[in-house]
């Protein structure tokens, strides 16, 4: 457990959007598990924080939700990306890549030389 990292501020929304983009519609629990799996179980995700983040994205119009039935026949609320959400993923991903690229230059100055 000690090796796991908390989710950094502001990155959860991008993780959710990206997961929904690759997996299609998904319920909250499925999303949480998928995010953990994608991180190679390195992320320590408090599942409770996922729902306010989902609500925020829904309020912003990036995702929408509807009630459905899960693979093991349980009633669950499913989330999927909207058109605006697709655009937002691309934009946010590009911004994040730029940020990490800039940081990488600081962390590996030798590469530049």
């Amino acid at each position: 457990m000690g090796d796991k990292t908390d989710v950094w501020q502001g990155t959860l929304a991008l993780m959710i959007l990206r997961t929904l983009e690759t997996m299609g519609e998904q319920h909250g629990y499925g999303l949480a598990r998928r995010i953990e799996q994608t991180s190679g179980d390195l992320l320590q995700l408090n599942y409770g924080t996922l729902y306010p983040a989902l609500l925020k994205l829904e309020q912003e119009g990036a995702i929408r939700s509807h009630w459905g039935v899960s693979e093991n026949n349980r009633k669950a609320k499913f989330y999927e990306l909207t058109k605006a959400g697709h655009r937002q993923v691309k934009k946010a991903a590009a911004e994040w890549e730029q940020t990490t690229a800039i940081l990488a230059r600081f962390l590996n100055p030798a590469e530049e030389a």
Partner: protein, 306 residues
Amino acid sequence: MRTIRSIALRFFGLFRSRRTDADFSAELESHIALHTDDGIRAGLSPKEARRQALIRLGGAEQTRQAHRERRTLPWLESLVRDFTYGLRTLGKHRVVTAIAILSIGLGIGANATIFSMVSRFVLRPAPVGDPSTLLTLKTMHDGDECCNDFPLPIFNDVRDQTKSFSGIAAYDEILPASIGGSGEPERVWGQAVSANFFDVLELPMMVGRAAGNGGAAGVAAGHGAHGHRVGAWMARCMDAFETRFELPLRHSTARRIHLRDCAAAAGDDRACSLLGSRTPRRIGRSHAGAAHGVACTASSRMLNSG
């Protein structure tokens, strides 16, 4: 745009809190059930699996609270709650509330009145050219300040011969009048003034012109009177009148100057006789820079000789 949409939705979320609460509770239950199913499949007892699910969730109630805070505008919600609580409390203590409202109302009223008076009389000078050169002419009786109404001949002499004043005018008390004309009769308040009154006060007339010379007088109607009706009234009152105007009459900043040894005498005053046998008040404008003492002496001499 996204932020505006989000705030709007959170605002409307205030009004359907109960339904969305139930909706989220169902979603949370479904989350715990799915997680518990996974735990059971991994070999945990149902009880333990549910416990683990709740632990990973970080507490159902905490999650509900975080969701609720994101769903609405908590600060607005508590503001509304505080406001309604305040109203309820006020409603319960009606006497205290009434006294408080009354005292605050009176306080505000008194302050507004004082401020408007200070603003009008102290902060903003009267619209009469340089107010400091505008003087009220007063007579003295046995060394004491007396009156500023004196007979027309003296007024005429002072006006025509004094050199310390650029002009001297007369005005009377506020006069009531009934204006008939073609419509309903209306009671208006006016003031009888000498024809040069507006020149001396450097007040622009808003309508018409002052007529007459020498002792003939004009009438200034206060705010609110209708110009054409005042005109009709004046035309009936006196031949010399062709005046129609409305203007604010303010000369409260005029300073007093004492004309010694001049007896006040009420008497025939042609200037305003048509508007009642009254003796008009005098007001003068000294030349810019003329010392008030000089103006006083010069006028006194004239009054004595008159």
